[in-house]
């Protein structure tokens, strides 16, 4: 078996920015003293005049981005998820969301896979926060290819978009000729009849591993890559839930307010179905190597497999 290529989705963010920067003169990238970590330094190298470092002042950065967007630029405001969605929540809500301004937010270092930096920097709440903002689009790509595609799609979309990226290198799973990214359209990676697994972000590749183990245990799982959390692909959720009768959501995020909640909202109202929410259970993260934490929090293939086996 050939070695699977691995890149962090933040690398895809950086590469995606460079690609759109070449194509479109109105792209402006903002950062808050994290250009190396968020990978906007790739854009800075190519287009130094269009890279604005705002210093460690994320709230101001969101306002500056709004001002740039109102005067014809397409700003990509970049920081860690904790500061983009957490610290600057009210700026994003009032200064970008309420006037529905065309600002793109690139939030890297989401979830516990931040690793060694620990709980203060591991944002497991950003999807929940962003979901409450009317009109906000939330993208959570599963690999490098999808991260790049999300940047392009965000540019083409007119309105605020929150993009979530990770620090940990994860397998490339979308480098197929027929791969297509469309905001609001989930992707069925594998059809199955016994249980629906709806995963997002780095949990998509881990869910694929879990599906293989489930298969060996005689369970035929359907796998959906839900790269867009909002607007949620309700039709796909309902169609698959109707077929399998059991739904599992998998995310590197709190089970409160994230993908699991979004899916449960839809099913609860339209097609009551038993749901297992796999994610971070109402607690803070901790320091440690990212892969070790993903294992400890049972978000790796093995952990996902164990929880689903007990569920079905």
């Amino acid at each position: 078996m050939s070695e699977v290529k691995k890149y962090a989705t933040r690398e895809g963010y950086g590469a995606g920015l460079v690609e759109i920067g070449k194509k479109y003169k109105d792209v402006v990238v903002l950062d808050a003293d994290l250009a190396e970590a968020t990978k906007t330094n790739m854009f800075k190298k190519e287009f130094p005049d269009r890279h604005i470092d705002c210093g460690i002042a994320e709230c101001n950065m969101m306002g500056v981005a709004a001002g740039l967007a109102l005067t014809g630029k397409v700003p990509f405001a970049s920081s860690f998820a904790m500061f983009a969605a957490g610290r600057a929540f009210e700026q994003v809500r009032n200064t970008i969301g309420y006037p529905h301004i065309n600002v793109k937010i690139g939030a890297t270092h989401a979830g516990i896979s931040v690793g060694e930096d620990g709980a203060t920097h591991q944002c497991n709440e950003d999807i929940a926060l962003m979901r409450t903002i009317p009109g906000m689009v939330i993208l959570n790509p599963s690999d490098y290819v999808e991260a790049k595609a999300a940047v392009q799609a965000a540019y083409e979309f007119n309105g605020p978009v929150y993009m979530r990226f990770g620090r940990l290198a994860v397998p490339v799973i979308n480098d197929t000729p027929d791969y297509k990214f469309e905001i609001g359209k989930g992707i069925v990676l594998k059809e199955g009849k016994d249980v629906t697994i709806i995963a997002t972000g780095l949990c998509v590749s881990e869910s694929l591993k879990a599906a293989q183990m489930l298969k060996e245990a005689g369970i035929d799982a359907e796998i959906i890559n839900m790269h867009t959390i909002k607007p949620l692909d309700e039709e796909l959720v309902l169609t698959s839930a109707k077929k399998t009768g059991k739904v599992v959501t998998v995310e590197e995020h709190s089970v409160i307010g994230g993908l699991g909640s979004a899916v449960s909202d839809v099913l609860g109202e339209k097609l009551p179905t038993k749901v297992l929410k796999i994610g971070v259970h109402d607690r803070y993260g901790e320091s440690g190597p990212a892969a070790g934490l993903i294992h400890k929090y049972e978000l790796d293939g093995e952990g996902i497999f164990k929880q689903i086996k007990a569920f079905v």
Partner: protein, 278 residues
């Protein structure tokens, strides 16, 4: 436009403020009245704007960072011809395009939604930076309250604007000395305001907010200042023009009843008549 003409318009702006807030039975008359002269000067003398084409690309921009004085902005825009003066009476009513705080989606002439304090100055800085990036020559103005500058984000934005040498940006601080809980220097003193902005690499001008000669001179000086943003610290009287509201914190966020409304309008009517004699 000479000073008397500007004073006459500002007096009409004040009538609109009082009428709107009275009709809404809520709102912020004190800070609206203290900023009425500055607002009048901006829209009738200083800014390149056209009420027939509110979105024209090369217009100067205004961000009302102290968004609660929306009545001052609305009344000025109505006087300028963006929408009928009569509509000021719909302020804060259900379904009105004149929301309690500025809503750029619904109101002609409003360049940015605002109201949550400390955020407008960042947007103004972003607009000013945008002009620099694409070599456009529009200018950007933002009005802040002296209480508002207690917000930390104001100083993030000031640091950014100074660092980026945004000389197309003018920050005006309406220094009426009062906020909801009392005197600004009793609550949490922002003084010295001028020295603070100087320290953040602004060119700073102190003026009397109700003296059109000083207002005119300050905006001309700002226009001629290169390599630095300008901060105009405008010492004002909260509630200016309505005697019983002047320098009283309780008129920060409360509306006059019918009786007080009649008294206020009578005062403004007399002030208007006196200006006509000039």
């Amino acid at each position: 436009m000479n000073n008397t003409e500007l004073q006459q318009i500002a007096n009409e702006v004040r009538k609109g403020i009082v009428t709107a807030v009275h009709s809404a039975k809520s709102g912020h008359p004190g800070g609206s009245l203290s900023s009425a002269d500055i607002m009048t000067y901006l829209y009738f003398e200083e800014m390149n704007v056209d009420p027939k084409e509110p979105k024209k690309a090369d217009r100067d921009r205004f961000v009302l960072s102290k968004g609660h004085v929306a009545p001052a902005l609305y009344s000025t825009l109505a006087q300028k011809g963006y929408f009928p003066v009569e509509d000021l009476k719909t302020l804060r009513h259900i379904g009105s395009y004149l929301q309690g705080h500025p809503d750029m989606k619904g109101t002609p002439g409003v360049d940015m939604s605002s109201g949550s304090l400390g955020q407008g100055i960042s947007v103004a800085a972003g607009m000013a930076l945008s002009a620099k990036l694409s070599n456009e020559d529009y200018r950007v103005y933002t009005l802040l309250g002296d209480g508002e500058i207690q917000e930390g984000q104001v100083w993030e934005a000031a640091m950014f604007a100074g660092h980026r040498k945004l000389d197309n940006l003018v920050v005006i601080v309406d220094n009426n000395g009062l906020q909801i809980d009392g005197n600004v220097d009793d609550v949490c003193s922002p003084y010295p305001i001028d020295k603070k902005f100087e320290a953040f690499n602004f060119h700073v001008i102190n003026i009397d907010a109700h003296n059109f000669d000083e207002i005119r001179k300050a905006f001309e000086e700002a226009r001629n200042t290169k390599g630095k943003p300008t901060a105009i610290i405008a010492k004002s009287v909260k509630g200016k023009g309505v005697s019983f509201m002047e320098n009283r914190a309780e008129w920060h966020g409360s509306a006059p009843n019918d009786e007080k409304y009649e008294i206020a309008m009578e005062e403004l009517k007399k002030a208007g008549e006196a200006l006509c004699q000039k």
